[in-house]
Amino acid sequence: MVIKDRVLEVYPDNVSAELIAHTRYITALTPQILGDAAMLAVDPDFHAKLKNGGVMAAGWNFGCNSSREWAPAALYHSGVKLLIARSFARIFYRSAINIGLVIMECPNITEWVKRGDELETDVATGAIRNITAGVSGKGTVLPESLLRIMTAGGLMEVLKAESGKK
């Protein structure tokens, strides 16, 4: 899976799941409401920036603290195409894979990408090319079993496909 798009913003370390999907919106019963609420507590201009690029970059421990699956779900429904962080909080990481939000770890990503840069990222090989700046880097490749879940659109899609086969 290769994703070519612009960086909408570079977010800092320790962005909390509580702020990605604020407590006020976690009873939201439709994906639309949840997607519209994504990141509002972190960056009020998030949705405007999303019009100019579908790639989010972030620092260490993105999605920390609360276990809420609403956090990756909000990003997924907001239309984010790819999220690259130096590292992820593990429940966020796991839930993102399981719902099919495309994510990648790259321990130095915030050092060589900035807002507006065009990136070409191959999730299967970990290759990240910053076309604008003319530099390249390497992200962590998921184990094959997990990569398959994420790129298939999430755990449910895999389970449905597998139960269909039987």
């Binding site: 370390d13 320790n14 909390s16 509580e18 702020l19 604020h22 407590t23 006020r24 976690i26 009873t27 507590a41 260490w60 421990n61 920390c64 603290n65 609360s66 276990s67 809420r68 699956e69 990756p72 590292s87 992820f88 909080a89 593990r90 429940i91 990481y93 796991r94 839930s95 399981n98 719902i99 184990p143 079993s145 997990l146 999430g154 755990l155 449910m156 389970l159 449905k160």
Partner: protein, 420 residues
């Protein structure tokens, strides 16, 4: 064979392997699944609409209503009804409003046994490592897609950090203070994906409900799970909760750690962590004098009988400061019964406290604990993030029950040692 630590052995046994090493992805059998009222209904929706299979082991699954001791409005009543109907339809265990905090209920009902795999929707699920479990928080799709229909979940085996605590505290710091301090010492995000093995003479000498406070911090330093090797104390404790048999597993003495954090806790003072984050932790003097209008014993970091005893020790024969509201929230019905038997209910009531039903307390302010922007609370809760308790400008101070009680007496953050 390579030496393994406790959680590696648990993951190996639960996935039918001889051994596992950090980085291995395993599919493990799950012994216990704890879901709470804030997300159970979403898991239920995925399970009913997409998975459409029977629940494989309903007796291993519990829905605990702990954020609501009572629904505050019709929408919440409807959400609870969805949760309730889901549990009944599949024969899962249901612990309705008034049962207590999800993790305490899990322990009290005998669902947490050494050597087992425990998963949950709550991010503080790693707390069960205190009883010798591999315990981790999962999202809704894992619960609905693999745990409910198959009794399994995938896990990546984490690298383990040894956290060794030793020394005799000379400054009247209680385990909650040491745990708050340790959160700052390891740092938020200081242990992302890691397992934390809490060990050392300080941990060994604690009773089980005090050990409990250490794996509790795992999630907020970014960890996957925290654990304490079981010992005779653990085994005896669990035997008072259940007749079910269990086989504890123990870390090999020569098991390998990714790194070691070794701390002498002798000179740690009582600690306070102020909003906006848990990493903003200082000795109590650093925040002393800041006004508080609310005080609470409750939440994942409190509501234990030990907390009620500490507060009563300070408040007996005294009265809290005018204008302060001090809410006491037992973590389980059993704790409330103990508080009645020990006379703590009367002592705290006479001091001006208000008793609330067993629950998670003001955690996320679902039916108590919301604050206006000018207000502040000091509590035994586990988190202090902006907006978690009402206005994003309201302040939450996290502390031990001693410090909460002393602060309620003075109307501001106060050092408990002048009363001890």
């Amino acid at each position: 064979m390579m030496p393994m630590n406790m959680i590696e052995k648990i993951l190996a046994r639960a996935s039918g392997r001889e051994s596992v090493a950090p980085g291995d992805v395993v599919v493990a059998n799950v012994d216990t699944e704890l879901l709470h009222d804030l997300s159970g209904y979403i898991t239920a929706r995925v399970f009913e609409n997409e998975v459409k299979r029977p629940m494989r082991y309903p007796d291993r699954v519990a829905l605990v209503f702990d954020h609501h001791f009572s629904p505050p409005n019709e929408e919440r009543a409807r959400i609870l009804e969805i949760n309730r109907n889901f549990a009944k339809k599949h024969g899962a265990r249901l612990y309705d409003c008034g049962s207590g905090n999800i993790h305490h209920v899990g322990v009290r009902k005998g669902m947490i046994r050494p050597g087992t795999v425990v998963v949950g929707s709550d991010s503080h699920t790693p707390v069960h490592g205190a009883l010798g479990c591999f315990a981790a928080g999962l999202g809704n799709n894992s619960h609905a897609g693999t745990v409910m229909p198959f009794g399994k979940a995938w896990f990546m085996t984490p690298h383990t950090v040894k956290v060794e605590l030793f020394g005799d505290n000379r400054r009247k710091a209680v385990p909650r203070d040491v745990a708050l301090w340790l959160t700052g010492r390891i740092g938020e995000g200081g242990a992302v994906y890691k397992a934390l093995h809490f060990t050392g003479e300080y941990i060994r000498n604690l009773d089980v409900w005090d050990r409990w406070l250490f794996p509790l911090i795992t999630i907020d330093v970014g960890g996957k799970c925290g654990f304490i090797d079981p010992d005779e104390k653990t085994v005896r404790f669990v035997q008072t909760m259940t007749d079910q048999t269990f086989e504890p597993l123990y870390s090999d003495p020569d098991c390998v750690y990714e790194s070691v954090i070794s701390c002498d806790i002798s000179d740690i003072e009582p600690q306070v962590a102020a909003s906006p984050t848990l990493g903003n932790v200082k000795p109590v003097g650093g925040f002393a004098g800041r006004p508080v209008q609310w005080a609470e014993l409750g939440g994942h970091g409190g509501g234990r009988i030990e907390d009620m005893r500490q507060a009563a020790e300070i408040l007996k024969g005294r009265h809290i400061y005018p204008g302060v509201k001090f809410n006491v929230v037992p973590s389980s019905r059993e704790v409330f019964a103990e508080a009645v038997a020990e006379g703590l209910v009367g002592t705290l009531f006479d001091a001006g406290c208000t008793w609330f039903p067993p629950s998670a307390g003001s955690n996320q302010a679902i039916n108590m604990g919301a604050m206006a922007e000018t207000e502040a609370m000091i509590s035994t809760q586990a988190r202090n993030f902006p907006g978690r308790n009402g206005s994003p400008k309201a302040v939450m101070y996290l502390a031990s029950a001693y410090t909460v009680a002393a602060s309620a007496l003075k109307g501001c953050v106060a050092d408990p040692r002048e009363y001890l």
